[in-house]
Symmetry: C4
Subunit: 280 residues, 4 copies
């Protein structure tokens, strides 16, 4: 495996061109957050906004509209139960996150199915949390799109069928090929499986072991992917690196680092890597 | 075109007289924010409050009341669907912002029409976003008021009929004259068309290319206009300058600058320019 | 008039005794905030909590519960339309604020009437904003309680019948005696009329001229009154002083100071005066 | 009594092992917050999250969902009135907090009864506020679980039958034995009664005497208990110590310290003690 280096990240996070507008940095749609798990989609959406995505829309249960806007006025909202609205929004975006706080009930399955049916081949689709479990439990066929899976080890076991103790690089690689997407396997020393290389992350400490951390990563991956779209693998790898890089910085003085704290530091961290690029 | 200078801004942002009260600095009404786009009107209203407007009322969909107050207890709210309430409030204010997150459906059109019908000649009306598109698509007649338009290039194309590649100073100027208002054409090097000069902004980098940035500007323009009302052009020009000035300051350490971050720095930035005036 | 000095404030804000609990510092009930003006009661309640009141309950329209708790989990809420609940809560508190964002409709009048009917002689009642206007317009009889009025000049004109240009110390004093309470007349150089002396505030600049500033003062007066209850006049005078003291500190670097910013600095300001007392 | 020392706390707050995930640090369920007292459960839940609990779910009145998520997207929510949902969630967690803002009406009693009926012997149950009063007033039988009571002196009087003036160590100890749990008796110099020693806290000043402070402690105890579960007494003692330690730090510059401010400083305080352990 190739250890992810700061150099790769610095090369990926490009200095923005002067003559750009919000449309230049992509549109992201985050789908999730039922009445119980609304916080997850707030974190995912916030991470996308703070990572520089130009336009973020959140499809969620209406019960989450007020709390989302109270935290993040920069995002737009739609009801994820409204099929027509969701279908129309899916047509307009460059990347979709599906899963954070989605839940696994019939409505969640319906929403996931709609996304799978509607997504187009050139769109990026980040599949996380409940969405992974729904695929595994309902044996759903995967859509034709640029797929990125972000399972933790237990979700990977369910999706891949490989028990946690036996998740070797070779076995994981085989399933990644079958899935025909990028796999970000979240664990101590997170591994990223791609069509070419496999990457390993040597950042990220136990201060990150808290709920919502994975939801945050999905939004970062979405925004990095739409901004640095010419190299999707580098974008995913860099988002994963920056996520843990920030946590480790905060972890020097904090016993636990909360997801929303990570999010608030993304703009500074990205500026750090964008600036260091010239010397890389 | 005349490049906007710090000197002009410093001259405009006057030191406040001692014997003043909240009524001295004007009343602003922001109209917008349907159920999907509530964040836009939160940003516009927040910008007006942080820019020193004495009294800000937000006319929006009731679904946005809780999130607006959670972020901004300094503002008052009314239901933008309640015609009578909106009409009464319109009678009491010095400046109106219409457009941020208004949407383009039948209700939005009805609200816009009501504002156009009710506004008086001595009132300032800032027309943004959806409101511009509604004017263009429905060929609405403009009301007799102190009009300020804040289109980005695509909205300007729809409103003026001039395709993006052909938006020259001369052509834009012709349409500005027809519109009989000030036009803030948002783009790389934003241009401001007025009855006399045309101004150009040489601040503002790509760190500003994110959703909600234009909504923020509308609130700033409204508050600057009511406070420095003797020179409306200078007020609009100064608001536009300060908006980008703050972004550029934050952009030194941030890859992207979020609208709510800009807003939080307005009081300091205005103090900076008010203080530097004596030397200008 | 006696100019309010830092020495008086330092003498009033006593260092807390070690063996105290939240009950030692009083209970405050804030009443106000209809569907349109919810922010006002959020500010009043927040000011009471940050000023050290042990227990704050907010009686408001239920539409404000979510935004209040999102900003201030330390407060409790009740529906100000529920007569029985309000009556029971009135029996339990040491001080009541009535007015911020109350409005002037029939429901507001009913709530005010209930408070006037229920309040007891030993309780402190701070009467602000809409409540003052309701008293004036409906010629309401005042209850027997420790009354504190906090009008700005226009509200004082309505309450006292003295036109703004003629509000001299002598005339104001006569009405204060009739009202049988303390009057905080908010203006440039705020004046405080009491049974004995009249005080004048030489702090507070035009950076404070923004909506919500008076609401904030009501909560501070309530909390100061319950904590330093042995000298009610000194408590009211000190709250008024600290309110403007903080604004002036912030005003050194801000063009406008927002009420919620004042509130966040109360604990530090009070510590400053409590510490400087030993040398006073 | 044994005075709680920094050394004990440093020994308890262990440096986290590298190869851990959110499941390693326990699951906490907080139960409380009716329509009036929602802030209490927000504070308890926030304290649990900031203290490093891996996964926190809040069972509360649905009216509190929006405000809770606006402050704390890291938590999940369920309706505490939905018996089936609450029962299922109780089965999944390591520690339960019951009481903050629960109220004492019939619904509160029903919820408390359900928790008592469902809790298992190996689970930790922190009983606070209204829950203590309900036990006392309804003579409820206590469940078989790892019980922790967090009464202030008046609640202890109701629960133990010992009047406030007579709450001696010897008498308190007898009741603690009958209750078969740990008792955190909150007062000036808080005392912690356990099966073996009795501890006394020599931190915590009158700056803490404000509403919500006890709610905050419950969340800290829950999270410390699930993380440092091998020594439950040490975990409870350490949470109590850190709670007051932070307040005293903030109290150096603040007249009153608000619960949400304590919460925001927990990660830094825990890092401080975890780091100092090696030298202890």
């Amino acid at each position: 495996m190739q250890i992810i280096t700061e150099k790769l990240v610095s090369k990926t996070i490009k200095k923005r061109a002067s003559n750009t507008h919000k449309g230049s940095f992509g549109r992201v749609l985050t789908v999730g957050g039922n009445a119980q798990f609304g916080g997850a989609i707030i974190l995912s959406s916030s991470a996308a906004v703070y990572s520089g995505c130009g336009l973020v829309t959140t499809a969620t249960d209406p019960t989450n509209f007020a709390s989302l806007h109270a935290r993040l006025p920069e995002a737009m909202v739609i009801d994820f139960n409204a099929g027509q609205e969701l279908t129309e929004m899916l047509a307009k975006v460059d990347a979709v996150v599906i899963g954070p706080g989605l839940g696994e009930d019939a409505k969640a399955l319906q929403t996931l199915t709609l996304v799978f049916k509607t997504i187009r081949a050139e769109q990026i689709l980040i599949i996380d949390g409940s969405a992974i479990d729904l695929i595994a439990s309902h044996h759903l066929a995967l859509p034709n799109a640029k797929l990125i899976f972000t399972p933790h080890e237990m979700e990977w076991q369910r999706l891949s069928g490989i028990p946690i103790g036996q998740q070797s690089e070779a076995k994981n690689k085989v399933v990644q090929q079958e899935l025909n997407g990028i796999v970000v396997l979240k664990k101590h020393h997170t591994e990223i499986y791609t069509d070419e290389k496999t990457f390993q992350l040597h950042l990220g400490g136990p201060e990150m072991a808290t709920g919502g951390m994975g939801d945050t990563l999905t939004g970062m991956i979405a925004a990095f992917s739409t901004q640095f779209s010419s190299e999707l693998v580098a974008a995913v790898v860099s988002a994963t690196y920056v996520h843990s890089f920030i946590a480790d910085q905060l972890g020097k003085t904090q016993y636990v680092t909360l997801p929303h704290q990570i999010i608030e530091h993304i703009p500074q961290a990205m500026a750090h890597f964008a600036a260091s690029k010239t010397n890389a």
